[in-house]
């Protein structure tokens, strides 16, 4: 160890500022002053709002309901539109009881493609047991069923779906429904001896006497034909055949099984006075091709139809907010300029001299920019939603398929604030790219290509590639605009270009956030390394 070093001479001047520059609050104030005082940037914010609203108006004005729209849809127990049509071989059951059957097989008819080649079968073709309040469509029910490609399920009141084992449709499977008071429990078994519970539900709306029995339903099967620039979705009606054996009702019942085509023509509400649909004799084939027969305890039911929630094909909220894709262009320009303008004018040297911690400067910029664009985005999204809804209503989008929504509804609020968040994140992404590339034109272009081009190209790419594009690019964030609940128990023909994202709202936002975080990280690293 050397001799102690003499103390350095005390300098006459000490800066009144704290080491490392001013506090974060002062930094925010400085950045806010910069943003506020450039008039063009204000125009960019206004431009974003105007563009978002204009494109939303355009999209709403040019929308039409294909095929005239559904007229008087069947409503389920909770008031939402449902599909409820199937052939039902049933007996009344009063009070508690158990109904059991062995489903020998479910053969789902494959749809025919125009060239005669075999298409695909409906994956949600189903055969099983159902316990239903009445034979009117839309009445409350609970069902244990075997599906074509989703195994055994317990479904009740249209929107609820509980998975059982993944038994194949060509192997016999035992199903059982038990009612004890208000509780309906579903069981399945491979041999009729050892029973596994699938699920149970409280069904307080079931009347004292319910209809129990066997059913088959077979929804539409879809084929997707896709060539660049054109998509053909053809949905065809299918008939599926269920073979049942050893049907038994254990409880207070009466009479032989009757046959009803639930939801068929003439069975709608008001068709019969006693609240039940008319029944037809077994063995008769109706106009839809439904038929059923019984010989030696073996029931064969051939039926089309479905028991599932009905999904609206247009998301009105999403359509009202769709202008944000274009509205983001001025915000991207603003985000880029918020940093490249400083590089260009040499202002950045002053900024970094006043506040040497460059990461904090970028953070302050991101906070100020993100906050401002969030507010502008929220205004844009809210106005776009409010002005587009009356237009869409005028086009014939009416409840109950398209429920009346206001800004106060949870799903709308989420979509509107989500859109504002996406726009703010895009602006921050633009800021980070601008800090990284330092070239205004190139940065703006990168953002626009990443966010807008996917929306154009997606319509032409093959389905797999299109889904990948809307999942993996920053444009995935727009999934937050979708408010229609997607039910897995319904196969829909909705494509990415129609606004159906394979990912949920949260996952989509997360993808965008990852892009923003990575870009910000790289930008901070570069700012520290490179000369300002």
């Amino acid at each position: 160890m050397s001799a102690p070093v003499p103390a350095p001479p005390v300098s006459g001047y000490r800066s009144p500022h704290a080491r490392g520059g001013a506090g974060f609050g002062r930094l925010l104030h400085a950045e806010w002053t910069k943003l506020r005082t450039v008039r063009r940037w204000g125009y960019a914010l206004i431009g974003a709002v105007v563009l978002t609203v204009l494109v939303a108006l355009l999209a709403a004005g040019g929308s039409e309901i294909k095929g005239g729209g559904p007229s008087g849809p069947t409503l389920g127990p909770n008031g939402r539109p449902v599909s409820d049509g199937f052939r039902f071989v049933h007996q009344p059951l009063t009070g508690d009881g158990t109904v059991t059957v062995r489903v020998d097989s479910l053969v789902a008819q494959k749809n025919q493609r125009p060239n005669g080649r075999e298409g695909s079968a409906a994956p949600w073709a189903k055969a099983g047991l159902i316990m239903k309040a009445s034979t009117l469509p839309g009445s409350t029910y609970a069902a244990a069923l075997l599906t074509h490609s989703h195994g055994v399920r317990f479904q009740y009141d249209f929107t609820h779906d509980v998975a059982g084992s993944d038994a194949p449709p060509d192997r016999p499977r035992w199903l059982r429904l038990t009612r004890a008071g208000d509780v309906v429990t579903a069981y399945e078994s491979a041999d009729g001896v050892r029973w596994d519970k699938i699920g149970a539900t409280e069904a307080p709306d079931l009347p004292e006497t319910v209809h129990v029995g066997m059913f088959v339903a077979s929804p539409m099967a879809y084929n997707f034909e896709r060539a660049f620039g054109s998509t053909g979705v053809d949905g065809t009606f299918t008939l599926s055949t269920g073979t049942f054996r050893d049907f038994s009702v254990d409880g207070r019942t009466e009479g032989p099984p009757r046959v009803t085509d639930v939801g068929a023509q003439g069975s709608g509400p008001g068709a019969s006075g006693d609240g039940d649909a008319p029944t037809s004799p077994a063995g008769v084939t109706d106009a839809q091709g439904n038929s059923s027969s019984e010989s030696g305890g073996v029931h064969t039911i051939v039926s089309t139809g479905d028991i599932a929630p009905m999904e609206a094909d247009v998301d009105l909220t999403q359509q009202g907010l769709s202008g944000a894709v274009i509205g983001l262009i001025p915000l991207a320009a603003l985000g880029v300029l918020f940093i490249t303008a400083e590089f260009r004018r040499g202002m950045i040297a002053t900024t970094f001299t006043a506040s040497p911690r460059r990461g904090r400067v970028l953070a302050a910029k991101a906070v100020v920019l993100g906050g401002t664009t969030f507010v502008a985005g929220a205004v844009a999204a809210a106005v776009a939603f409010v002005v587009s809804q009356p237009l869409l209503r005028g086009k014939g989008h009416r409840p109950p398929v398209y429920p009346e929504l206001t800004l106060a509804d949870g799903s709308v609020l989420r979509a509107v604030s989500g859109t504002a968040l996406v726009l703010a994140l895009v602006a921050v992404l633009a800021l980070a790219v601008g800090a990284l590339v330092r070239n205004t034109a190139a940065s703006v272009t990168v953002i626009v290509v990443l966010l807008v081009l996917p929306q154009i190209l997606v319509a032409g790419l093959p389905l797999g590639a299109a889904r990948l594009v809307v999942q993996a690019t920053p444009a995935a964030g727009f999934a937050v605009q979708r408010t229609i609940e997607d039910f897995p128990q319904v196969e829909s023909a909705c494509l990415p270009e129609d606004g159906c994202y394979p990912q949920g709202a949260g996952a989509g936002l997360a993808v965008l956030c990852v892009y923003v975080a990575v870009a910000l990280g790289l930008a901070v690293w570069q700012l520290r390394r490179r000369r300002a």
């Binding site: 999209a59 493609r113 896709r226 359509q319 274009i326 290509v449 190209l457 093959p462």
Partner: protein, 284 residues
């Protein structure tokens, strides 16, 4: 309205010769400015590179296995191979915008106008040089895309045995699509130059050009009414202009190939005229 016609009556040869020399000088000056920027060469490279890469990616997604029979694919293979133009045009737009707005940013524009007081000539020279450089890189981009498409498509089953002629520029429709794409990119460059003269600000101009190119197709994808879709496609500079790439089902197009390119040239001409007008009227 200068004294041009009167003088031309007196000594026609020397005046036109002088005008021609001035034009050549202007173009040479613009070329020198462009050529001395690194960004020019990077952007021209990007035009070709992006176009070929996205074209290859698009072609890579098709296969005759996806069709009912190998010979029944209803695929516009030419258009598919030239998909990359959708991305390549962004680099063209940046190039066109930077050629003008870049000068405003650095203040070079004042020097340029001092050296060439005839402002119409400045616009003309800039437009010519940008269009010519774009044409060179667009030719590379399109030729590369067709060549890559030819190789990849025959690997994917689009062979003569299955009834598909390999892509070739000797085919009339393919040649029209390829040549049309080059013209398309040149027109996008001109549109960018014109708009940059109007806006004078890099971010504003690039935002404007990209907005014009992309907003219409996005809006068209949002509306469901077929009549609206058709009109949006006809009015859109990008969608109408790129109709020139179609080689199949021409009767189903919203706008025919050459009229479609005509729509884009109206936009480009409008932007250039407006840009020239604004330049002549305003202080630099």
């Amino acid at each position: 309205m200068s004294a041009g016609p009167a003088q031309a009556g007196a000594r026609p040869g020397s005046v036109t010769a002088e005008a021609g020399r001035a034009r050549r000088h202007a173009c040479r000056a613009e070329f020198a400015k462009s050529a001395s920027l690194h960004s020019t060469w990077w952007l021209l490279l990007a035009v070709a590179g992006l176009t070929v890469v996205l074209g290859a990616a698009a072609v890579g997604t098709v296969d005759t296995d996806q069709c009912r029979t190998p010979s029944s694919c209803h695929e516009d293979t030419v258009k598919l191979s030239l998909t990359g133009v959708w991305v390549g045009q962004t680099a063209v737009a940046v190039f066109g915008v930077l050629a003008v707005a870049g000068e405003y940013g650095t203040g070079t524009m004042r020097v340029t106008l001092a050296a060439m007081p005839d402002r119409t000539r400045v616009v003309a020279a800039k437009a010519s040089v940008v269009a010519a450089l774009t044409a060179v890189s667009a030719l590379l981009a399109v030729a590369g895309s067709v060549a890559v498409g030819r190789v990849l498509l025959s690997d994917a089953g689009f062979t003569r045995a299955n009834g598909y002629e390999p892509l070739s520029l000797a085919d009339g429709a393919t040649a029209r699509a390829a040549f049309g794409s080059v013209v398309y990119l040149m027109l996008v460059a001109l549109l960018s130059v014109g708009l940059a003269f109007v806006v004078r600000d890099t971010a504003g101009a690039i935002g404007g050009v990209l907005g014009l190119l992309y907003a219409f197709p996005v809006a068209a994808s949002l509306v469901s009414d077929d009549a609206w879709k058709e009109w949006l496609t006809r009015l859109a500079p990008a969608s109408a202009g790129l109709a020139v790439q179609s080689t199949r089902d021409l009767d189903k197009l919203a706008i025919a190939p050459w009229p479609g390119l005509g729509v884009l040239s109206l936009y480009a001409a409008g932007a250039l005229v407006l840009g020239g007008f604004v330049l002549c009227r305003r202080d630099a």
